[in-house]
Each structure stands twice: as structure tokens, then as C-alpha cells.
Subunit: 412 residues, 2 copies
């Protein structure tokens, strides 16, 4: 099935809003074997919507429109699409009832404009909106499926998952199954290089890599008419992936790296403290983004200066004087200080040069020492990261989480 | 001038890469008065590129193509566009010389494939690539301007600024000027509400709001043929904006809020320490993203537990017992402890409930106390933020920076 994504919204054309909807939909559609051939974006403009719809229905089998379904004067998607297909609009009693109930509960006034959302093209199917007021619409005409979804990402995603995915899956006589492997401690190009032979010969399963903030995701997707055959195809490719990436695969359900580490800590009941120099609180921020992390994460330090390292973590002056703040010894002493002063089970420390200034020939920008420790082990790694300040900080954080994960897994 | 942005890259259609290029280009083009009417995205597919190019040159005056200019087999943009316009390709000696020199310096091997980047459509203009190897191309045919730029954002942005903007500006007999106002301590909808009358009657200048991570940017853009007249138009609108937002306007050159605060600290030579509970290191992370911040930012604490607040910051037990960790008194004591223990000039503290768990009727999710202090003043604000955990943390961070800015400005 060939698909076009048609995004409606002047805010996308002025740059006020980044179009994350097409990214989400493309990812999800690829995973069920739908080929996205085009993304098209236009403003809140009926003339150009008709024009682009005319182009779309003549080149793909499925058009997913997002945006322009709301209650304001700008929102003209439904009216324009209905008129394009010569379908009259009729107010739907069920939708009116739902809308009234929703507004009763909210306490907001229900204006006439809001009822426009209850007008449905005669002959179209209604897609329930579990997160908002505007229902979605599904029209089937001349062997083309047209879906209209809200532009608000949260509403769009829920409606897509609940109402569009099942329809698309039922349309296909193919079964398409995807599996995901989240990999840490390796860059995207390194991972791609290791998969190059598979990527080059890919037909079924297909392979794709996605670079996230904390990790790289490898997705394999196989299609066919026989579930057992698909399983076999996926199993074969999976065994190659397992062999090549081994324990670097930290999740198979798309859980992020920091969340995986947080869940491991909670599951094992291990407490953690952090001391960050060049990552300046980014490890702490990633941990505390996880709901309920306070069970295991109590204390973090951002120790930029030598003085802070001494007074807060007890790093001895002679270590700082002899080896410098960016050294194996300092990273180790930071871990030691954390364990002693916070009483936590585990510690992680980072000290390095994120740049752009502060580098030297002996200690260049990108040199980072990362330490993880429990009361039996201390593991310190010397890393050389490329990139700008932001990238060096990001890579340091991800490396620290990868090292922490290893420590927790082996902790007894 | 009407413009279409045509993005090339299969990675965009599978969702592997988020298309940030169109967002950047749309923002910059709007600011010089170019109307972006369409975004179109296709894969590395010559047939569909021809098809979309044919549509584009018949509906706009300017097509900006990004992606597909590199040295690999997938990169077919230049060949396809040249063939569409019946322009033969010719290897450019200057470009070959440049490429050789670049590779000499890099130490990488220069393969035959790389030389394809030096093939230029006869009659086209070369756009210099100051950040990479693939030059851009500018073709003018039948009153349509077609620009081909690299897909790598850093290279694309440099080429757009250096080579495309001047051409587009010179094409117009209009002068278009934009001014920017970065506003803190107010949400986007609040700001839009205050500008509703201006937005509704907007013709010249036009007004747009952009919600960033840390702040909202208001842009006003005026066009005309007379620079003095444009200045007058902008001055009029600016005076309204100044009046309505006053000291909440913290920058007029698009500098972000945390950077503004960092620069203020450096300029005044004031040192800062931070103590974060529910924002868990996000203030520290924002500060340490700024190069050179170590001059003024030495120490940060992430004190999630009561115990950490007591031992690290010296918050008295009876304050925690009587008022609780999320209270005016605790936020104040955290600031006090920071000033005493770190010796810094300024302190900021955050304690609150980011959720989703941990809320109660008396202290609901979203309740956050933020304190800023110097050795003379302590200012504590009680805030109620809406949203999920991520949004509550983000809003707390931004509020803390807004309060810090006020404190620094008034500090003597």
C-alpha cells in the first residue's frame, strides 16, 4: 500500500511549529509495511487543499490528513474534503451528545462553533477521539482511503493507534511484523557498518536504524501471509543481530537507555548518586525525568570547580594537583567520595573537557573520564568523543548510562 | 514570492530522520517576506523527483531542494534536476581542485565517487559549501529559481545564509525587515491573547509567535520599498509590544533565556549555585550547556530526598517536619544553605511535585516553590503548573531562570 501524508496548518509553513506528526506516522506506517511515498504540507487554505488532494488521490492508495479539524474558522479540512468528494455534511446526534457531555464536565462555555465538529460527511466513518473533541473521519472512495486526523500530536497518535492502524491492517492480506532492538555504547554509523551486508541484501525482512537521543534503534520488519514463516524470517535476522551486538542490546520494547537503567535500579533496589563535571547535571536530569525515580535516586552533585570536588566529594588536593581534574584518578576519587558521603549503593562520576575552550595537547577537547562504582568495584573509562560541546556532553551521558547498566547487571 | 520546499531522502519517509530543515527554512524565509506555500518530501527516487519538480515549477516562483547532493549512489538530485531542465553536466575544475585540497588535509582516501560532486549543470551557478564537500546549485529557468542545498542541517544552514538569502533579497524590489522579542515568564497562549488585536488586523507588519523550549519569541516583519517607512511601521508595533510585555522582554537578538542569564552572570561577575529537587538537574544542565559558564557556575545539588536536603544543604529537620519538603520555608532554607555552604553570590532552589505520583489535595501535582537569593534578598514564589511531568519540570526551570534574571538585574 502506498501512502501520502498531508499536513494542514499555516503554523507549519511559517516555521512556528515543527512537524513531528509526519515523523511519527512514517515510523509507525513503515513498521506495518505501508510505504510512505510523499509528505505534503500546506496552510489552512481550501484551494490548495483541493489541489493537493487531487494530486494525492491519483498517486497513492491511502491519504492521511492531519490538522484543520478543530472548532475555529481556520479549520476547514473536513468541509473541503467532503466537498471534494461531493459528500454533504450532516450533524451527527451521537457526536453532539458526546460534545455536550464533555463540556458539561469541563465547565467551559459551549459555543456554536464547537458544533461544527459534529458535522460528518454522509457515508464516511467516524473515528473516535479519546483525547479531545474533534472526531476523525475515514472516507473510502475509488479505492483510495482518506483519513482525517487532528493536528494535535497527542490526539492524533491516540486516534491513529486506536482507529487507523486496525483498518490499515485489515485492508492488507499481508501480515507485517516488526521487532526492535535498542543498542547502547555504539554510534549509529558503527551500527550501520556492522549491518551493511544485511541492509544491502534486504528485501524481507527490511532493516532500518533510528538514531535517538540516548540510543540507536534497529528495526526489522517482515511481511507475508503465513505467521509461522514470518516468525522464521525474523528469527533468522534476529539471531544475526544478537550475535553482532550481544549484550549491547538493552531493550527489545523501545524503552530508552536512562529508563532501562532506572528500572534496573528499582528492580534490584539499588540506590545511586551522581557527580558530574562536564555533563553538568544531564545525567541527573535524565534520571529525574523518570516517574518514581526518587525511590532509588537521592543525591546528585554538579561539581564544576576543583573546590567543589574537594569540599563536596572529598577529592584529595594532591590528586587534583598531581593528575589534574580531568584524570582517571579524579574520576575514581569522585566515585569514592560519593559512596562514602551519600551511603548509596552505586555511584557514577564524569569529568572531562566539553569545549569549545579548555583543551590542550595533552588533554584535548572531548577527553572525558567516566567512573562507575559499587562498594566492591570501580570501573573507570577514558573516552575520546568527537563533536561540539552539546555532542560531547550527550555522548558522555550515554556512555555513563551504558557503564551503569553493565555494573547493575553484574552487581550481586 | 511564493516558495516550495522539496526535501529528498528516504530516511525522512521511514521516520528515521525528523525533518528539521523545512522548519528552519520556513522560519528564515518568512522573516524576509517569502511566502512558503508547500513542503513536499520524497525519497531518493528520480522518477518521483521529476514528478514533484514538474508540479512545483508550475505553482511557485522558487523551489528550494534539500538533500541528495552527496557522493553516494543514492544521491541523485543534481543529475535528475539537470536532466529535467535539459542541462548537461560538466565537471568543474575549480571544484575538483577544492575537493582534492580538502581531502589532502583530512587524510581520508578520495574515491572516484567523490568527484561526482564536482559535476555542475552547464549554465547553473555554484553555491559554495563552507562546511562540507558537496557544492549547492542555483538554476534560473522560466522565471523560476531552483536552489539545491545539502541535506545535512549544518551545511544547509550555512549555504542558505551565505548564498541563498542574498540572492532572494536581491530578487525582490521590496525591503523586508524583521525584529524579534524573546519573552519569559508568560506562556504562549497568554502572549497570543495579549497580541490578538494586532494579529487580527495584521497586514504590515505581520506578527508571529514561536514557542521555544525556554521562551516564546514574537517576530514582527514589515515590508516596503522605503527603509524609513519600514522603520516607522516596526517602531509603532514595537512600542505596543514594549508597553504590553515590558521587562519580560529579555532579548531582542534571539538569545535564549538560560544563555541570557549566563551572560548576565558573567558580565556582573556574580557566582551562582543551584539546588534542585523536582527539576532534578535541569537548571544545572541548561547552565552547563553554555560554553565558559564555569567562570560563574561552580556547584549544583540535586537533592531529591529529605536526607539530602538536610545533610547537603543544612535544611533544618523541624522545617521539613513542620512544613514539608514542598514548602515556602524549605525553598528558602535551601537557598540559605547554598549561600552559606558554597560561598556563591547567588542561589536558586526548586522544590515541588512533578508527578505523576506524589500529589495530595493539599499539595497537588504541579505545586512548585522556587527561590532565588543573594546575600540581601530572598524571593520565594509559589507556582501551580499544568501539564505532565516533563512540562511541569520544564516550566519550573523557565520560571527559575526568569526569577534569576530579575534578581541579577536588580542586584547591586
Amino acid at each position: 500500500m502506498k501512502c501520502e501524508l498531508l499536513s494542514i496548518g499555516t503554523e507549519l509553513l511559517t516555521g512556528a511549529t515543527l512537524n513531528t506528526n509526519v515523523n511519527y506516522l512514517s515510523t509507525e506506517l513503515s513498521a506495518i509495511g505501508v510505504d510512505v511515498h510523499y509528505h505534503t504540507t500546506i496552510g489552512d487554505n481550501p484551494k490548495r487543499l483541493r489541489e493537493c488532494l487531487d494530486i494525492a488521490v491519483n498517486r497513492v492508495d491511502c491519504v492521511i490528513i492531519t490538522g484543520g479539524l478543530g472548532p475555529t474558522q481556520d479549520d476547514l479540512t473536513k468541509e473541503t474534503v467532503a466537498s471534494f468528494f461531493n459528500m454533504p455534511l450532516k450533524r451527527d446526534d451521537q457526536q453532539v451528545k458526546k460534545l455536550k457531555k464533555r463540556f458539561e464536565n469541563s465547565g467551559y462555555p459551549l459555543t456554536e462553533n464547537n458544533f461544527r465538529q459534529c458535522d460528518i460527511p454522509v457515508g464516511a466513518a467516524i473515528l473516535d477521539n479519546s483525547c479531545g473533541t474533534a472526531p476523525g473521519i475515514h472516507i473510502e472512495k475509488n479505492n483510495v482511503d482518506v483519513f482525517m486526523l487532528p493536528g494535535v500530536p497527542r490526539e492524533m497518535k491516540a486516534m491513529f493507534t486506536e482507529s487507523v492502524l486496525p483498518v490499515l491492517k485489515s485492508k492488507s492480506n499481508q501480515i507485517v511484523t516488526s521487532r526492535y532492538y535498542n543498542i547502547c555504547d555504539m554510534g549509529e554509523s558503527q551500527i550501520e557498518n556492522q549491518l551493511l551486508d544485511l541492509i544491502k541484501q534486504q528485501t524481507n525482512p527490511t532493516i532500518a536504524t533510528y538514531a535517538g537521543v540516548e540510543e540507536v534503534t534497529v528495526r526489522i520488519t517482515a511481511g507475508g501471509t503465513n505467521a509461522a514463516e514470518i516468525k522464521k524470517l525474523l528469527d533468522q535476522t534476529e539471531s544475526v543481530i544478537n550475535e553482532r551486538f550481544g549484550s549491547r542490546i538493552f531493550s527489545r520494547d523501545r524503552t530508552t537507555l536512562s529508563k532501562t537503567v532506572g528500572e534496573l535500579l528499582k528492580a534490584k533496589g539499588l540506590s545511586l548518586s551522581t557527580a558530574e563535571s562536564c555533563t553538568g547535571g544531564q545525567i541527573a536530569a535524565a534520571l529525574t525525568a523518570i516517574p518514581g525515580i526518587s525511590e532509588v535516586y537521592e543525591t546528585g552533585f554538579v561539581t564544576y570547580s576543583n573546590n567543589a570536588k574537594k569540599t563536596l566529594l572529598g577529592v584529595p588536593s594532591d590528586i587534583l594537583d598531581t593528575y589534574g581534574a580531568v584524570s582517571h584518578q579524579t574520576a575514581e576519587a569522585m566515585c569514592q567520595g560519593l559512596l562514602e558521603r551519600t551511603g548509596s549503593d552505586l555511584a557514577v562520576s564524569v569529568t572531562g573537557i566539553a569545549g569549545p575552550g579548555g583543551g590542550s595537547e595533552a588533554k584535548p577537547v572531548g577527553l572525558v573520564y567516566i567512573g562507575v562504582a559499587d562498594h566492591q568495584h570501580k570501573i573507570i573509562e577514558k573516552c575520546r568523543f568527537n563533536g561540539d560541546r552539546h555532542q560531547i556532553q550527550r555522548r558522555s551521558v550515554n556512555k555513563a548510562f551504558a557503564m551503569l547498566r553493565n555494573l547493575i547487571i553484574t552487581h550481586d
